[in-house]
Symmetry: C2
Subunit: 255 residues, 2 copies
Amino acid sequence: MAYQIISNITTKNIPMAERLYREIGESIKQEIAKSSLKIGDKLPTERVYAELFGVSRTLVREAFIMLEIEELIEVRKGSGSYLKNNLSLKTSHKVSDVGPFELLQARQEIESSIAACAAPVITKQDLQKLQDILDIESAELETVEKANDADRDFHLSIAQATQNTVLLDTATRLWDMRDGNPMWKKLHARIQDTSYHDQWLDDHKKVLIQLRKRNAEGARQAMWQHLENVKQTLFKLSDTDAPDFDGYLFAQPHN
Amino acid sequence: MAYQIISNITTKNIPMAERLYREIGESIKQEIAKSSLKIGDKLPTERVYAELFGVSRTLVREAFIMLEIEELIEVRKGSGSYLKNNLSLKTSHKVSDVGPFELLQARQEIESSIAACAAPVITKQDLQKLQDILDIESAELETVEKANDADRDFHLSIAQATQNTVLLDTATRLWDMRDGNPMWKKLHARIQDTSYHDQWLDDHKKVLIQLRKRNAEGARQAMWQHLENVKQTLFKLSDTDAPDFDGYLFAQPHN
DNA sequence: AACATAATTTTGGCATACCAATATTCAAAT
DNA sequence: ATTTGAATATTGGTATGCCAAAATTATGTT
């Protein structure tokens, strides 16, 4: 049967045994990109794609659900499926493809703005929560994982404090990119037994102080400096003995 | 044709009967919440849920795909499905849920930073492209759609010029949120016959001038002012006669 | 008792078949 | 010629059944 051949080929070419519906979904995205459909336009039917890819309609249907959850299409019973959003970058960039330093640069710019936005509107509850996280960071340095969780929690809590869901969403996305990035994990693993954590903890304290004062520009500067420190530290680490990171060091600190 | 209009109205105002798999998916989320499973724990099998909800396994399977796309669970063939993330911290919003002004605020902060990042590293080709887009914007004001496309193109080209994929990815995401937002479409539709476009075109020119000078802070300020103008304009428009926008006007300009 | 391995069960993967809602076509009535 | 409405076709919705991978259990060997 034809679909078995396809299945075998794909499982050979792609290392990770992805679920087939994902492949179909990605293929459909490519087809959409090629045909350059406009928002609102009607997509080919499930049956058409099924025949095109040589799979059952069930799989195409599952792929459609994936695209629907991603808010790329809208499915209407008895009518068809329609383009809802531009697919743009949703397909092209995998988290594993971004360099740690371009991610850091983006975080430096965006998170310092977020800190500035949070300062005027932050609540006492938010400030207390940040203090609690700082206490955890001060006391508990057991595992790298725990420290990382607290770190993430601190930064995202500030984003939460802006009361702007878009900013929170953006920050969360950046941290997801970070935590899912293999290169960053490698870099991060090297820091676990150094004293850089103390430096960063101190940075966090400075940020919180500015937030307490509701000083927007002070918070922006404190967060910017914190991420500058992180950037410098990681740059040194990658500079000393890391031939592995060749090609991932674009967008290095340039200040 | 008359029924088309009716069809459009119903699809916009009256939420289409949700697809069953969504209901099942939400129910499963509730079940997970009740049973308070930990990350990594194994979920009940598809067959169990099928019997529990009195539906076929196909539907449960589709619901599982939904949860998998939402990165809430992980599905392993022959083994089972496992909790991947805690649903309490799930901050995934629908684009349609964000208010135009919180989106604008986020864009103002992030895009002005992006402009600043682009200034030192922008290439001559990028500058030429921006000039071309400006020419298009100056000449061709035929349709709102075309103008919007050019606008998007201008802003995203600057993000592209940063040579930072994360920043480009972020900016693209923000514009996708904008273009997919029904409230923004309503607001935007009101501007089509005003002269605000000239104002914004002038803003764009100012941004380009700063980019040409490779003046980071100048570009940041120009972009910030541009989006400030947009914010003010849209705020006036929504203020005058727009009872529809109640509840969407949080995160208003506060400068 | 231990380990290895074969048989069995469990579990998700995928396809087929039929159902229901929507859209289209076409013929009959005016 | 237009309108109406029933017949038909199209399209997504759902259920059932069988397949393959993984996990488990049973069994045999040392």
